[in-house]
Symmetry: D2
Subunit: 143 residues, 4 copies
């Protein structure tokens, strides 16, 4: 797959469990870091999105495939792309790689809905955001 | 769905994020607590499984549907059942409810593979474990 | 030391690190659970304190002595008492024990200040809270 | 204070709590990141220290002063220095700053003991490590 954006992070000591591998719950945090850095790279921090458009991009669903474990101190690459862009919903696809070995660590999908911050009712994806989402649209295969 | 086991937990302050709801990554920890308490209730702690059979039940995949947010101090019920029991693989299905309102908070599935602790090669589900897994088999619908 | 309150918790899988012991940062969460359960036992949840008195009990300082490591699945007892009760500030002392062995796991102190939720200026400890704090006052030695 | 080393990190969404500030327990993780990056900068990753010298640098005590809250997406600077270098024990001092405003967020101290990985008995700080610790010794005031 071709991903329009990538960011890097290092596995911290606290993320690693008794099996000496990254605990499964942390990959959702790595995806979140990828998503937030993606927005920043497109010129809008998550807080700016929230404040300018009075919305939150709530998480409706997440799906993780754990391929190969990541370890303490690994340098990881998180690749990010957008797909299934609807009226108020969109999906984000991620692949996480270990830089040193190019191992594919995890494939992740998160489904989001833009909702009004007060009413929690779905609202349209703001036109400015939709523009770069459409630019960064990928074909995403989960397995 | 009929679940053969349930356990209870309270949302801690640290689990809650800026949106005043449980952060998505913590539901995987709640599922883990459900899974571990299920094993204990069937007479075998996770550590006993690991040591007696020299295996780990590694996580291959996770799937979460976030239905309604949970909040700080909520009492949650985690229901647990087993499905798709193969030679070395099995799936665990969970539903998380808020006790006070009976709201369905999340539906979760985790796929596991029993692997040898040294070689990481798949090994059969131990007969003793298979016995109670088969007793606790459910039909699981993810949506 | 004599503690007026205690609560119990079980170490979850995710709390344990590569050294197979509870990661140091989680003891602050265990203290927090102790503090919140203490308030509940005295008839006031933390959320009720916040809403009725329009204040937060912010954390100004924490001190942990790590005595003996806790492990996955340990049943822990968290003992809680109050000391150094000032006009708007107070300290909470904790001892954490492993139930099975009565090992002392950690000694913790947290210093708090009651502040107005909007202005963040220090405010008096509410009279109702002060009453049970004074009832539960302990002599606390940190080592 | 003069610190011989500093590293940078960004506050992730998951680190922030209901009060919209970094949850107190995460500062210990930020200190840990500072300590591990310090070792790497001196030419030895933590894993290399563990394996070459067959020891762990266990945490005996931690002390945090929370000065001003950090928020989501803040760029933080973690400054690191060493003090009270004994035969097998040493202390690490940290100051955390917000880059944008130069606010002092937290002052942290962690006390460590080098122990043999199997026996958990205290062992001397390895000569090679002592050399750079002594080079990076600071006067550390906690308040």
């Amino acid at each position: 797959m071709q991903f329009p954006f990538e960011t890097h992070l290092r596995v911290t000591y606290r993320d690693v469990d008794m099996q000496r591998v990254v605990h499964n719950s942390h990959y959702l945090q790595y995806a979140e870091i990828g998503r937030i850095e993606y927005l920043r790279a497109r010129g809008m921090t998550y807080q700016e999105v929230v404040q300018r458009f009075n919305l939150e991009m709530v998480l409706a669903e997440s799906h993780c495939y754990y391929k190969v474990p990541a370890h303490f101190d690994d340098d990881l690459t998180v690749r990010v792309g957008i797909f299934d862009i609807g009226r108020s919903s969109f999906k984000v696809g991620y692949e996480i790689y270990r830089k040193a070995t190019d191992d594919q660590i995890a494939i992740i999908r998160t489904n989001h809905v833009c909702v009004n911050r007060e009413t929690f009712k779905p609202v349209r994806i703001p036109a400015e955001v939709r523009k770069f989402f459409e630019n960064d649209e990928i074909e995403f295969k989960e397995t």
